[in-house]
């Protein structure tokens, strides 16, 4: 096949699409576009959910790296020295300790079980964006005592009756109100609500935060112990780098990255997502292949006499085959472009209006590589679907074709 032959094949393909049945061309492009969108939507949504969960886990639970007590220990001990060691390492933005106690919250007639987490507010600001999520009042100060910040679901809504609540709450606590916390160890204290926050991450939103200073009054162990330390990496430093560094520099506690923890907790879910993605991909590829196969088969069957004529006037069968091949390529490329546009529009829409559940909120997570890989897969399927009938009809002898 020379340049001239390809040029003629392309001219025939282009003119057939331009001047042939326009509605069938538009419909085919639409179907390919929808198949592309279908191929990319579910994986992108699952990736979005995964990204959302990962981000929230990093932001509100464990940071990039979690330092927890080694096997057999109840707490991360020698807290001051451990924090100083971690904070001194390159790549560490900040490390901050957490100490959690189960407690009962009381407000007027309402009683609610909750986790009370103690934090070092100044350090916590460098590790978690919790301080940016205040919906009322203000964040904790470093040495605050007798003050607490609570999640919006914990605070509740005074306009909703207790029996109508989806999630148990204190029934409408407002900033400045006083709540009583009973720690179960005999320590009971009234706290002023300094602020109410809402992160969208249910585990954080159903908790209550006090300062480490305050917690040390509740449980003296909190002064030099922590349930765990969350570590935030500086931009450009990987979690694995920080983990290896901590181990190398002698942090004797258990050190795990977010990925380590998520792989353990979400491994089964990720496997399920992968299976669903694969099924979605295969179905889309099959639909595209079948549709294009049918379109080109109908086109070739309707054009058999014309194909015979073209061969009679000296047009080679390869030119005829590539004519239909180019038609498929053009349809597939336009369909894929349409699919990319639809996918990007959906991504933009979902960025503005994410899917929100009590556990997570998700957007479409699309990478250029996702678009490229799916485009290539669909393109290859389309080319096969188009060339098979084109090959068959181009091999037909002239007499048979012309009599069609």
């Amino acid at each position: 096949m020379g340049k001239k032959e390809l040029k003629v094949a392309f001219l025939l393909a282009l003119r057939s699409l331009q001047r042939g049945g326009r509605s069938s061309v538009i419909l085919t492009i639409l179907i390919v576009g929808m198949c592309f969108t279908n191929m990319i939507f579910l994986p992108a949504l699952f990736n979005g959910i995964g990204q959302s969960i990962t981000k929230q886990v990093v932001d509100y639970e464990i940071g990039n790296v979690l330092v927890s007590p080694k096997s057999g220990d109840q707490y991360v001990a020698d807290l001051g020295a451990t924090l100083a060691l971690i904070n001194g390492m390159p790549g560490v933005e900040r490390a901050t300790p957490h100490f959690t106690k189960g407690a009962t919250l009381k407000y007027r007639q309402r009683v609610l079980g909750a986790s009370v987490r103690s934090i070092s507010p100044t350090d916590e600001k460098q590790v978690s964006p919790l301080y940016t999520k205040m919906v009322a009042g203000s964040y904790l100060g470093q040495d605050d005592t007798g003050e607490v910040i609570i999640g919006k679901p914990v605070a509740g809504d005074a306009s909703i009756r207790q029996e109508d609540e989806f999630q148990a709450s204190l029934g409408g606590v407002r900033v400045g109100d006083s709540i009583t916390i009973d720690y179960g160890n005999g320590y009971v204290k009234d706290y002023r609500v300094k602020g109410i926050y809402f992160t969208g991450w249910s585990q954080a939103d159903s908790a209550v935060y006090v300062t480490s200073t305050d917690m040390a009054l509740v449980d003296p162990k909190a002064a030099d112990n922590a349930d765990y330390i969350t570590v935030r990496a500086k931009p450009g430093y990987s979690e694995m780098f920080i983990k290896n560094e901590l181990i190398q520099y002698g942090v004797s506690q258990k050190v795990q990255t977010t990925s380590d923890l998520l792989a353990k907790s979400m491994g089964r879910a990720l496997q399920s997502f992968a299976i669903i993605n694969m099924v979605s991909l295969i179905v889309s590829v099959i639909i595209t292949t079948v549709v294009l196969f049918i379109v080109i088969t109908i086109k070739t069957l309707n054009s058999r006499r014309q194909i015979g004529i073209l061969k009679a006037i000296g047009v080679d069968k390869e030119v005829i085959m590539h004519n239909y091949g180019f038609q498929v390529i053009i349809l597939a490329v336009l369909g894929i472009i349409l699919g990319i546009i639809i996918a990007l529009l959906l991504a933009m829409y979902m960025a503005a209006y994410p899917i929100v559940t009590p556990e997570w909120s998700a957007t479409l997570y699309l990478t250029p590589m996702d678009l490229v890989i799916n485009s290539v897969i669909l393109f290859c399927a389309a080319v096969v679907a188009g060339y098979v009938p084109a090959y068959q009809v181009s091999r037909e002898d002239i007499q048979t074709a012309m009599r069609a």
Binding site: G2, K4, V8, L11, L12, R15, S16, G314
Partner: protein, 231 residues
């Protein structure tokens, strides 16, 4: 130019054997305007298809310019048709999605011995000659039958093939358009010394031919020059 020896074409349909051509032997000289005439089913179109390399004979041989075409493979036959032969069909057989100009240039575009400028200029010349230049951007469906047949002829001769085959080119035309087409053939034949082999069953067409062979049941029953040639 064309040497045909003992050409046979037998179609088998179950146990029935149909001899479409039965021992045709014939020579066609360069520059000749040959008419193949005969009743329907006499084997005219079958013979034309054999000569135009659109079908293969059951036995016998055809040599064009010394080339035994039975020795050519599929690809060589395609090239032979492209470079040596032109074809005009009864139903014009234009590509419906191409304009007049694109239809005319289509086979020439594939020829390696013609540049884009050469085949474009040749197409302009031939469209001017047949009076269709002002319709060069029209699609076939926007033309009358006579106009489509003129475009079909332009496509067949744009790259100056050695032999032009025409399979009942006036079958779908009225008398006026038929005469226009036949005049065009005559002009091409006289001006360009173009060999033309045309199938017809219209008796009045014989006035245009130099020579007429008549077929009956796949056999040549007469072969003679016409008064046109003697002029």
């Amino acid at each position: 130019m064309i040497e045909i020896a003992d050409l046979q074409k037998i179609y088998r349909m179950g146990d029935v054997e149909v001899r479409a051509l039965d021992g045709v032997t014939l020579d066609i000289a360069k520059g000749e305007f040959l008419g193949i005439m005969g009743a329907s089913g006499s084997g005219k179109t079958t013979l034309l298809h054999m000569l135009g390399l659109l079908d293969t004979p059951t036995s016998g041989s055809i040599a064009i310019d010394g080339t035994d075409i039975s020795r050519l493979n599929d690809y060589e036959k395609t090239l032979f048709r492209l470079y040596k032969l032109g074809y005009v069909f009864q139903d014009y057989a234009l590509v419906p999605d191409l304009t007049v100009m694109e239809n005319v240039t289509l086979p020439a575009m594939l020829r390696k011995d013609l540049t884009e400028k050469q085949y474009h200029d040749a197409s302009i010349d031939i469209l001017t000659k047949i009076g269709m230049l002002d319709r060069q951007d029209h699609l076939p469906r926007e033309l009358s039958g006579g106009q489509q047949q003129r475009v079909s002829i332009a496509r067949a001769i744009v790259s100056k093939p050695d032999i032009l085959f025409a399979d009942e080119p006036c079958a779908n035309l009225d008398t006026e358009n038929s005469r226009m087409v036949l005049d065009l053939f005559r002009e091409i034949n006289e001006e360009m010394q173009q060999t033309i082999v045309m199938v017809s069953h219209e008796d009045w067409h014989k006035d245009y031919f130099h020579r007429i062979i008549r077929l009956q049941d796949g056999k040549v029953i007469s072969d003679g020059l016409t008064s046109t040639k003697s002029h």
